[in-house]
């Protein structure tokens, strides 16, 4: 298990001029690219073509794009049928509706059939903001990771979403990728590695870094985890960060290393604490290496309208909250 220095990430990461882009944008661009490389790739959407960014593919390959109308349940099974005929379907909607509404169709017709349908759940998390709780999918990871055969990805930025999309087009597993609506900092660079099932770990100083707290994050909230770790290190608390972009299959070797090398772990995700990424981490560690893990997430509650920043703060997921919670656990002020 090798760590990288956080300086390998976007050098402008903590500067006010850091580039921001929603990770759905990277998905859209990459899907268009895979469409030009592989004729088997087809796309389906349930009346959200523009906002899920599947529009890039639609405009480039209109004959391979299928508009389903507002019918997510049928979309899942149509995609399954296409995959049975040799296609690699990417189906997009908001996470609240897909996999929110069509869970059983995904389970039976995609996962049980074990066909390579790629489910794109856009506008996941509370960060979708003003639309309110009805549109804030914070249960989708739990819904998907409990289904056998299903791969679950939560990329941290637009570049990682693009790499994940390119990879998904080459894999045979049914897969779910959750994306966010809001523009968030571009954390990674074109050179940052991405592989399904491989976590990336980051240090904030050189090898002399004292590893006290390990923060594990999935999705665009990774930036908040990195910001928190930077502050903690500035305050003399050795903090490292793991980008767990693949929630399933879990990179158990990396998680075990991380647990062995830190006194305490903190998981951060824009999801219910029950059943999400943090749950996956503790399910694994509880048997192989019982470890103190603080799971930050939404604690059995619905979201509400607000800005992304307001909601992350309200639910204790922003950098300042992560710093505070970490210090509280460590008993330092």
């Amino acid at each position: 298990m090798t760590y990288r220095l956080a300086s390998h990430l976007n050098p402008d990461l903590f500067s006010p001029s850091c580039a921001k882009e929603a990770n759905r944008i990277g998905f859209g661009k990459a899907l268009k690219e895979v469409g030009s490389k592989d004729e088997r790739v087809v796309a389906l959407c349930a009346d959200l073509t523009e906002s899920t960014r599947i529009i890039d593919f639609k405009d480039a390959f209109p004959e391979r794009f299928f508009e389903m109308g507002i019918s997510e349940q049928s979309m899942a099974s149509v995609a399954s049928g296409m995959a049975a005929m040799g296609k690699i379907p990417f189906m997009a909607s908001y996470a609240m509706f897909s996999p929110g509404r069509n869970w059983e169709q995904i389970r039976t017709t995609i996962a049980y059939n074990d066909v390579p349908v790629k489910i794109i759940g856009a506008h996941a998390g509370v960060s979708v903001g003003p639309d309110g709780a009805t549109h804030q999918a914070i249960e989708d990871v739990a819904l998907m990771r409990t289904i056998p055969n299903m791969v679950v990805l939560s990329p941290s930025d637009t570049l990682e979403a693009a790499r994940a999309t390119m990879t998904l087009a080459t894999t045979t597993e049914p897969s779910y990728m959750r994306l966010a609506r809001e523009a968030t900092p571009v954390v990674t660079t074109a050179a940052t590695p991405f592989a399904i099932g491989k976590a990336e770990m980051y240090l904030f100083r050189d090898e002399a870094h004292t590893k006290k707290v390990g923060i594990i994050a999935s999705g665009t909230i990774l930036f908040e985890a990195l910001s928190a770790a930077r502050t903690l290190n500035e305050n003399g608390i050795g903090a490292s960060v793991m980008n767990l972009a693949t929630i399933k299959p879990l990179d158990t070797a990396a998680v075990l290393t991380f647990a062995e090398e830190h006194n305490v772990l903190v998981t951060v995700e824009e999801h219910q604490r029950a059943g999400g990424m943090g749950s996956a981490v503790v399910e694994y560690l509880s048997t192989v290496r019982p470890t103190k893990v603080i799971r930050l997430g939404i604690d059995d509650a619905f979201g509400q309208s607000g800005t992304m920043e307001e909601l992350w703060r309200y639910f204790g997921l922003d950098a300042a909250s992560i710093v505070l919670e970490t210090k509280r656990i460590l008993g330092v002020s």
């Binding site: 049928g81 049975a84 296609k87 059983e104 059939n113």
Partner: protein
Amino acid sequence: MKYLSDSDVTALETKANEIRASIIEMLVAAGSGHTAGPLGMADIFTLLYFHVLRHDAKNPLWSERDRLVLSNGHICPVLYATMAHAGYFPIEELKTLRKFGSRLQGHPHRIMLPGLETSSGPLGSGLSQAVGMALAERLDNPYSSKYFYCMTGDGEWNEGQMWEALLLAGKEKLHNLIVIVDRNGIQIDGFVEDIMPLEPLYEKFSAFNFDVQEVDGHNMRAVNDAIGKAQAVFGQPSVIIAHTIPSKGVGLFERDFRWHGNPPGKGPTDRVPRDKQAEVALRELRSLKGYVTNSEHP
């Protein structure tokens, strides 16, 4: 349309009754499962697998095969029995239905048994899959002569997803999609028209831009003609409402919704005691009450 001679009809009807006997035997061996739907659809499945479908039992993944998607997965005993009689796997294996380790799962699993086009059981999803298959085929081969058959139960049309799929099939004018509705009039809780009325069903399908036909689902020639006409339709998908008798072939079980989800030996006892149910059914199917073919059956 493939021509059916009189001797073809007799051979198919005889085969259908052999398949019905297999259904009874496998349900008895399983001790659970559905009786009414499988018996009622035996004629149509026999016609499809022994006369209509382009398929190869020895090469079940042959890419040029027609696709038959079973949407109402609970009637899989008729699919399994027909496939076994058609040579996909040994007839003896039918006795493993619903048993631990069997390829013949209580509801079909595509991965386990080559020749199944999908896994099904939860109702309402098969039509969407057949539509997806037909769309994918059109993309690869606009002049394809493959047909995509989707078998559905009538109770299944309670499911909203069926109507989502109809909208899409009509929009996409999938002329190689042929939907067959097993209009046997029953579902678990009672008669379909009591539970959730579908009528006027013909008009509903027509309003969704489907070519609609209604046939006697036990008349080989009528069903064959309807499929032939459906194959000839261009510019819209087809649906055939096949009127069938639940538990057809076993008089004491026929038309009784209580046979929907029970195997012989566990069915209603007012007409025949449980310990005699399998024996009565098999005797009737094997003798056809003295008639030679099903079409002479009163």
